[in-house]
Subunit: 341 residues, 4 copies
């Protein structure tokens, strides 16, 4: 069976496993208070050119979204996301389970439009009944988005400006951030992100780590007693250095961006070959998710030999599907997929 | 620096790291739906002699306690624990953060007394105002307890009987279960546990795994749509097979109990040597936590070369401290500790 | 100042105040366990022709919605409502604050379309990732809707049928139910409601009481230990008989429907006169909310002498506003409003 | 049947019912934004000699406790109360249902000891693991306590001083405050309370109103967007003026304290007569709750003709019970009770 179903079906980059094996018997204090975590934190601060950033390591993406949104919002506030945002659709109501509403706006290839955001928030404050409504306290975006598209620097600035105008926090979900940083045409570097976002995270789980997300508080400080809040959310890993160790490796010699760029290049090759063969892409994006329209008969035949994701129904005889490359995808995999197709 | 501060300061047993490295590029579906998890589940069912048990893998202990208690209780119910129970004291209010009260009883060397439990619950139902109070819906115990003591089979039966009488669930926190299973004099095997507890977990984090706890629904089925509930709690690991893989190794050739027994034996050696040297134990237990009373001057001198835990103040000049052995403790460590003492 | 801003700006029908004054020194047990509440419950059961219905009295509408939705849903379930539903927009996230997502569908003059509901739920269960999503566990509708429109019997049956197909509960918010029961053309009587809805409430606050909503569990039993759950939600009134007393009066000689019919008739008169004068209604409804389009200059002039509600912007020079009649509106009020217009 | 079971079994003082009847058709804006509420707020500010106090009206006591504790605490904080505190025992876990732990200390005739509080909080901060524990963020006391006892000025000052030392808020539950203000020997006036407590409430439900508690933010401002938070908690009464109206009457000519003093005097008479007849009081207090020890046979006989509360078992043949007077208790009631005894 060939796997193009997601970017988290393999273990971790070999540097990480080697490091874990090497340091296995080194005795560390728990909960992230160890020197390995501190080293990883400093590498991330350096990469972000933000030396006073608070950095925390959390095991998973939904957990991180739930934690950050719950601890950064007041109880009368909700978080604004696009309808296709991961927190709005695919996290089983994890945000609502902490008491906060997800307020939704239309998605444009997965992205939020700054003007629509501004109209929405402006209308909210102009509504004479807004005190009976959920206040928009934070804006949630993903880079790359759930559709694989990217925000450009100008788009981020426009969103930031609306956040400033209405005193909302800007939170960026970077579960797949490596694939944004490594994409052709990307103009949003880590230092730029750290200037734009109040808080964001650098995804490990989908970008070469076994698990783990590095949360960076860039334009705000971490909420008070954040360690206690992590613990209360059930998100404090006892052997915290396992998280630090992985990011310490990923941020050595820019491995993180390199892994992303490799997967993006694989995705680009796949796109070119698909177009060559006459397939139609659902949308054009530069990252590791390839959305392509298949004839349903082709799709069914393919499903016997390849695992991929259903995306959306196009019409009675066509369906959009997703092929996902990862940091571990090889040229042979691509070839085999094209052969099967 | 010598570490006796806890049982989770090293990585994992080498079998686990080898397996991870070996299978690193094997492509698995996510969220625990993979064959490795299924293999581990079956080994655990076999070890428990309970072939219809639902088994789930969760990353950490507080997370597991929070998840199980929240999903197994009705909203008008709380969980009964002893005052020294981990959920009552050291989880930053994780249980309360999901809306449930922790109802406390006195602890006897960390254990709950079945008669006191019965009196408490009986009084509750006899109180004419009990509909204005939190219903006791579950009993939480730890094996071994937070003091390293063990429930015997007869004690468990007595608790079970009260639970049956008042329709409460019995939940056992087995974060350190290996150290109970491997202890001299222990008469509570996994199959007995599986007959007594509605739900319990087999701790990995503190017993030789990198992280992970195996939840066993023994005398009850898992709550409906439990996967969704795990996700909603932020506790669903994307690469679920990492958890399964670790338990697949721990339950190969009974490695789990072996590791526990080894640490217990190390703790016993330490106890004998301490007693030999005239030190007084705070309480006598057969597991990996050694609670000993030190003169404060000795304690302070020791703290410069050994990491251990403060336990409790005995009097103005004496303090009880904890030395913890683990699956990875070596005879040299013990010798060095005794030399320093 | 003339008030057409809402239907809860006066006290209560005089029968209620007389009764309260008359029985003021009668000593009642607390929390709804008194004979007055029992009498009111029985009258409501009779009016609903549902003698085994559980009936509870709660002080306010948002409180009732929050309580019912939270106690009737499992934690992995959300409630489906139209985008203009009161719980979706105007309750400050009260539902989400208890952990449940409000899942929204388009509104058609405030109503939910049964076919759209079915498509949505069917797609949910067909989605291979639905275990990572919030399950639709309940359908919330309002009668009359927030736009003053009514569901007909056939429409309710269609919704009920979808609920049955997918095992969802049907919950009806009847904050303004008197104005539905008393409306020309209404074919949904209380007994029909009690056959269609799992649970619904008969609004008092907006229909002639000082405060209070009567919750009727019709096609389901009340959740277990419901009194405890009411208490836990902070919604248990100490002097519960104050609620029972009001409904005991409202259900004496069908006062409830009579009050609704009177307000509807006043609204109809207002509609006819507005149309006569050439004003355009935003939508045609038979209940006590009159939605009319005004020239902005007219609106601004009017606002100096009449309190009404802003509804929505129509175009640059026109706005829809709401005039609300109530059980206490008099012909003189209408005349004065028409004079000012 | 004679009622001494509680102080909330009658309606309201006649001034309140008269006012409600008189103003019944006056049209008020909703949610407490009316002139009646403003008048009541100002009277309360005057009575407290605290002209900048934020004052809000809430319908019930449990609701108020839940709301204040949830909105004034950070999520990592709990509230410290004595074991017999209403929030700890008799509110069905309403505080925990909002995510906050109730941390308990021993009760001394219902009161908290400032030294014990200080020891507890000091130990908390000295514990090296306190970041894994619930922070004490607020102290909850009741005046009078659940046992009818009173804090003196010096005791309040001592508690305040501990709160200042450790930056905790001091919250006072005044559900029965009238009976404290009117008690012989009481030295804690409203202005003193307003200097000592960050926030407290003046109970209406148990002190002559139909329902309602007046929350006074004295040494702190109300939490941001408090109206929205009240709404979100389901605690915002539509016809808010009904609450304001009642306090406007209770604070006219000091009616509130007068009603309390009258009930206290009745309770004192009852105490003297009981002592005269040889009965033993459980504890000596100056407020409206009379705790007396009865022979079980006397208790059973009495229960056929009088409603009172069971308090606690004294020994096999004796039980402590509570007789509660209220603002509406008459000399005839006392006489009849003594006759029956």
């Amino acid at each position: 069976m060939l796997f193009f179903v997601n970017d988290y079906c393999e273990g971790a980059h070999e540097n990480i496993l080697k490091r874990m094996t090497l340091d296995n018997y080194f005795k560390n204090p728990g909960y992230g208070s160890d020197p390995v975590c501190e080293s990883a934190r400093q590498k991330i601060r350096n990469a972000c050119k933000k030396n006073d950033a608070d950095v925390f390591f959390i095991s998973g993406g939904t957990q991180t979204n739930q934690l950050i949104i719950d601890t950064c919002l007041n109880s009368y506030e909700g978080v604004v996301a696009v309808e296709t945002g991961h927190i709005a659709l695919h996290e089983a109501g994890a945000v609502e389970s902490t008491g906060h509403k997800v307020l939704t706006l239309p998605a444009h290839e997965g992205k939020m439009d700054a003007r629509e955001l501004r109209n929405y928030v402006k209308s909210f404050y102009e509504d004479e009944n807004h005190e009976h409504m959920v206040f928009p306290g934070m804006v949630y975006i993903s880079q790359p988005t759930e559709y694989g598209s990217l925000y450009g620097k100008a788009e981020l600035k426009a969103l930031r400006s609306v956040c400033d105008e209405f005193k909302m926090k800007l939170f960026m979900d970077g579960a797949r951030l490596a694939y944004a940083l490594g994409a052709r045409g990307n103009d949003v570097t880590l230092p730029i992100l750290a200037q734009m976002a109040d808080v964001f995270y650098i995804g490990g789980t989908k970008c070469g780590a076994l698990f783990g997300e590095a949360v960076v508080f860039a334009q705000m400080k971490a909420p008070p007693h954040f360690l206690t809040q992590i613990k209360q959310h059930g998100a404090l890993l006892a052997k915290g250095w396992l998280l630090g160790m992985q990011f310490d490796e990923l941020f050595e010699n820019d491995l993180y961006t390199t892994l992303g760029a490799r997967a993006d290049a694989m995705a680009d090759r796949l796109r070119y070959r698909l177009i060559d063969r006459g397939y139609k892409l659902l949308i054009e994006t530069p990252t590791n998710q390839v959305l392509v329209v298949l004839d349903n008969r082709v799709m069914k035949a393919l499903a016997k030999r390849v695992r991929f994701s259903f995306w959306e129904v196009i019409d009675k005889t066509h369906t959009a599907v997703r092929f996902c490359t990862s940091w571990a995808t090889k040229e042979e995999d691509l070839k085999e997929l094209m052969n099967i197709l």
